[in-house]
Structures are given as structure tokens and as C-alpha cells.
Amino acid sequence: MDIVKDIKNLLAGMGITGKHLGRHAITIQYPEEKWTMPERSRGIVVLLSDKKTGELNCTGCELCMRACPTGAIMVHAPRDEKKKRHLKAFTIDFSLCCFCGLCEDACNFCALKMAPMYEFSTDDKESLTWDMKTLQEIGRDVDYVDTRKKKKPVKKTEAAKPAGKPADKSADKPPDKSAEPALPEAKPATEDEPTTDQPSGNETKEGEQ
């Protein structure tokens, strides 16, 4: 009969909720307990330091700044007369950051990493702009694998390096192109890239088949 079936189904529903009543909660009490974040988790961007010297890995190449889709990263690294960059300022505005990880992929020098940290809420928007010192302090104890190439910085050969490299480690690196007025003499790497870059030069060279 219809009513009997309906009542049976209603009771079956109560059985399911009743069954769960005795189970243990699957949530956790957040500030007391915390998840262990997976190592790839994209949280705060931190600046990494060399494990031996303790100095920043960042060379001020500004690749991350160009890769950033929101303009959250500002790198100030003027060149001296010998065309060598000196990193003066590195700020990240976390109120703009969208945690996409493109800066991490763009970086060739293991200079920055998205650490699995997420607790940086504040009631002041201004204080979300973090400077180089802070980012370095936080990045001190962040573990990372040093994948930097120990190549001699020969001018022209290094130019081809970053272009070929990201495909090997499957990192997507979208730096900007050459016509940048703000950066008069871009590093040879970025200078050369657009010219070598054919419009359809994207064939899979080592893809199977």
C-alpha cells in the first residue's frame, strides 16, 4: 500500500540520520587542532634564503612580477653600472594576491615559494602589504629543494636556459615580453626570448608518439 511504503521510506530516512547520530565528528576544532597542510599547498608567498649563506636567493630578475596576473608583486632591483642587479625592495600585496602560483612557476632561482601557511588575516588592509624583511623571516624555516642551475653566467648561453628549462620541469612560466619601457635593459634572457619565440613554436618535441 502507498501509505505503508511512504512510512517505510520516511523511517528509512530517519534510520540514516539516526545512524549518523552515533558516529564521531569528522570536523576538527580549528584553532586548537589544525590540518597538516599538504606540502604543495599554496599559501603565503615567502622568499627563500640560501641554506648555507642565509642570503636571499632572489636575483631581482622580475620574472615573478611579470607573471603575476594581479600585479601583487613589486620588485625593485636597479642595475648598477656593471649591469648587475641589486635587490632593493620586494613587496607583495596579499590583498591583491590570488594565490595562483604563477610566480612560483616563473621563478628560475628558487627565490620564492608558496608555503603552506594560511593564517595571516588582519583587520587592516594596509598591513597586508609585506616587505622583503618579513617575507624573508617567514621563509627562513621553509623547506625547499634547491633546483638552481649551477651554470656559469655566460651571457648568451644563459639566455637560452630559462626558455628551454621550464618545459622539463613542467613549470609554466609566463614572463612578459621585450617591449618594456620600465625595464630598459632587460636581462639577456628576457631580451632574447621573444625573438626566438616562433608564433607556433610550441610543438611537442619530446612528447611521446
Binding site: 520516511l10 530516512g13 530517519m14 540514516i16 540520520t17 539516526g18 549518523h20 547520530l21 552515533g22 558516529r23 564521531h24 565528528a25 569528522i26 570536523t27 576544532q29
Partner: protein
């Protein structure tokens, strides 16, 4: 003095209080007024705490059904969380809409609160634990619980908000409709007990559990089920909570209320839930009857079991639509309960019962 029949177990305390009050030398009518006010205040205190406790309980139950923790911060498993909530709500600012009907808007939560508590005059919490054993107890309860809808209508109208108005109208239609099957299912019990007094009805179910009306009446289970369904609707609980259906009417009749006024509606809802469960226990589940343990304990145990049932309803079932709700009441529940009532009355007349 009228009251001493009740409160057999708490007699010494009441005697002491009575002596205290009477030693002031107050003349008789005023003495009763003072004593009943005191009793009312006690009842109010107990029920307010009970309602807060029920809120906490509901939150814990829902949390555990959903595999969450629920309140955990205040005390052991957050046991005084709702007390803190109530204190917070007391302190909150009242935001009143400018276009409200001042008088109606103000008195609606008060009415709701008062109506929710009035029923407790005739609910026997235990053997002799009753404020007043009225000889029209059931009728009285039916009368005052229906009082709630006036307050909901007032809230809906006074808020000057379309959602609130829809909620008020829905609740009026709903409560009036479900009053009919509810009374009809209760009447079976009254017919068998032969009395409208709550105490007499409980006394008619003396003894072991097979003497309870739910098992004893020819159609006791049907009467009980229809009563529970109608009572869920009366208490505006989930399968029938269309007056405040939050996905449709945002919050229904109490959409414009804030702070303590909202808290009064909220607490009244939980007091109502306890009321209908207590009535169900009194009428169908043998009231305070039980073995070994004190009578009030049995009563509370059974009532909380029914409350738990209502809570399981709420956290399991979806909500009916307003016209389906009416259809269910008038096309299904009313015929069923009246058939049950007629059959029961005939059996009582013919003597076919045990």
C-alpha cells in the same frame, strides 16, 4: 488555600514558603495572588532554562547527525553556550523598521512568549507536580496553544514586510488547519479516560506500559501518530515549518525582529516544542507513570524522547509546500482522525476495550 493538593513531593518546601508568606499577615485573596505569582515565577524560570537547554540540545543533535561538533567552547561540550547567546541577545540593539505598526510590532513577541508559557498551568510534571489541576485541562491547553498564532499574525502584520506577512498568513492557515486533527486525535483519549482533567487522564493509564493509551486504545498508535504530526505542525517544526521557511521567506514572520524580541520568538518555539511533547506524553505515553524512579523523572525522560523524535524529524525531512500542507491536513489527517474518533467512541460505548 486551593493549591496544596498538588506538589505532594515538594510539600515541605512549599509549606515553608507558605508559612513565610502567611506570617506576613496578608488577607486571604492577596495571599493567593502572591503565592501564585511566586509559582508562576518559578515555572517561568524552570521553563526558560529548559528552553535554553533545548536549544543547546538541538544544536548538539543536529551537529552529531551531521558529524560536526556543534557548540564546544563554553563549558563541557558548550553546555552554557546558549545562556551566553541569550545574554548576548539581551544586550543587542533593537532594530525596528520605521514603517512598522508600533503597537502590534511590540506586543507580538510578548504575546508569543506568554502564550507559550500559559499551557504549563495544567501539565503534570509528576505525581502532584502540577500548578492547577483544572477539570477542563485538555480544553484549556487547546485554547491557549492556539493563542500563539495571534502573535505570529501580529508579527507578520506589524512588521510591514511582505515576507513577514506571507509567513504570518501561512502560520495562521497552518495552525488553524492542524488544530482540527489534533483535537480529534486527542478526543479519543478524552473519550476513553472520561475526563478532561490532565491528572485524571494520567491516572487512567496507571500501571505498566501496556496501560498507556498508545497501546491500549483500539487505534492508539494512529491517534498518537496523527497527534505527533499535527503537533509538529503546531510547533512549526521542519516538515511543516512553512511560516518561517527560510529558503522561501527568508525568516518568515520574525524577519524584522532582532535582539531580545527575536529571542522571545525563538525561545517560545522551543517551549512550544516541549509543550507538545509533554502533552503527547501525558495523553498517550502514560504521563508520570513508571517504575522505580521518581515520577517527574519518568515524565521528563519520556518528554525528551518525544523531543528527540521531533528533532530527528527536523534534521531528516524536507519541507512540504504550503498547499500540500493544507491538503495533507484536510484530505488525509482530518478524515483519518475523525474516523478514529468515531470508531473509538463506538468501541467505548460497546465496551470493546481493555
Amino acid at each position: 488555600m486551593i493549591w496544596p493538593v498538588a506538589f505532594a513531593e515538594l510539600r515541605p518546601i512549599f509549606d515553608w514558603l507558605y508559612d513565610m508568606v502567611s506570617s506576613t499577615g496578608l488577607p486571604e485573596p492577596w495571599l493567593s495572588v502572591v503565592i501564585y505569582t511566586g509559582l508562576g515565577a518559578m515555572m517561568f524560570g524552570v521553563l526558560a532554562v529548559l528552553a535554553l537547554y533545548l536549544v543547546w540540545w538541538e544544536r548538539k543533535i543536529s551537529a552529531h547527525i551531521q558529524q560536526r561538533f556543534g557548540p564546544m567552547r563554553h563549558g563541557w561540550h558548550g553546555w552554557y553556550q546558549t545562556i551566553m547567546d541569550a545574554i548576548k541577545l539581551l544586550q543587542k540593539e533593537h532594530v525596528d523598521v520605521a514603517t512598522r505598526d508600533k503597537f502590534v510590532f511590540f506586543w507580538a513577541p510578548v504575546m508569543c512568549f506568554v502564550a507559550a508559557f500559559l499551557a504549563y498551568v495544567t501539565i503534570p510534571f509528576g505525581e502532584g507536580l502540577i500548578v492547577a489541576d483544572l477539570n477542563i485541562g485538555v480544553l484549556y491547553i487547546m485554547a491557549v496553544t492556539t493563542f500563539t498564532i495571534i502573535s505570529l499574525l501580529m508579527a507578520g502584520w506589524g512588521s510591514n514586510n511582505k515576507y513577514a506577512l506571507l509567513g504570518g498568513m501561512r502560520s495562521a492557515a497552518q495552525v488553524v488547519s492542524y488544530e482540527v486533527p489534533m483535537v480529534a486525535s486527542i478526543l479519543v483519549v478524552v473519550v476513553f479516560a472520561g475526563s478532561l482533567s490532565m491528572v485524571d487522564i494520567v491516572r487512567a493509564q496507571d500501571g505498566m506500559f501496556y496501560n498507556w493509551f498508545i497501546f491500549r486504545l483500539p487505534f492508539g498508535p494512529i491517534a498518537f501518530l496523527t497527534y505527533i504530526v499535527a503537533a509538529t505542525a503546531e510547533a512549526n517544526r521542519t516538515p511543516f515549518d512553512i511560516p518561517e521557511a527560510e529558503q522561501e521567506l527568508v525568516a518568515g514572520f520574525n524577519i524584522e525582529y532582532s535582539g531580545m524580541k527575536f529571542a522571545m520568538f525563538f525561545l517560545a518555539e522551543f517551549v512550544n516544542m516541549f509543550t507538545v511533547s509533554a502533552i503527547a506524553v501525558t495523553l498517550f505515553l502514560g504521563g508520570w507513570n513508571g517504575v522505580f524512579l521518581p515520577s517527574w523523572f519518568w515524565f521528563l525522560l519520556k518528554t525528551f524522547a518525544v523531543v528527540l523524535l521531533l528533532m530527528l524529524f527536523r534534521w531528516t525531512y524536507p519541507r512540504l509546500r504550503v498547499d500540500q500542507l493544507m491538503e495533507f491536513a484536510w484530505k488525509f489527517l482530518v478524515p483519518l482522525t475523525f474516523a478514529n474518533l468515531i470508531l473509538g467512541a463506538w468501541m467505548k460505548y460497546a465496551g470493546w476495550y481493555w
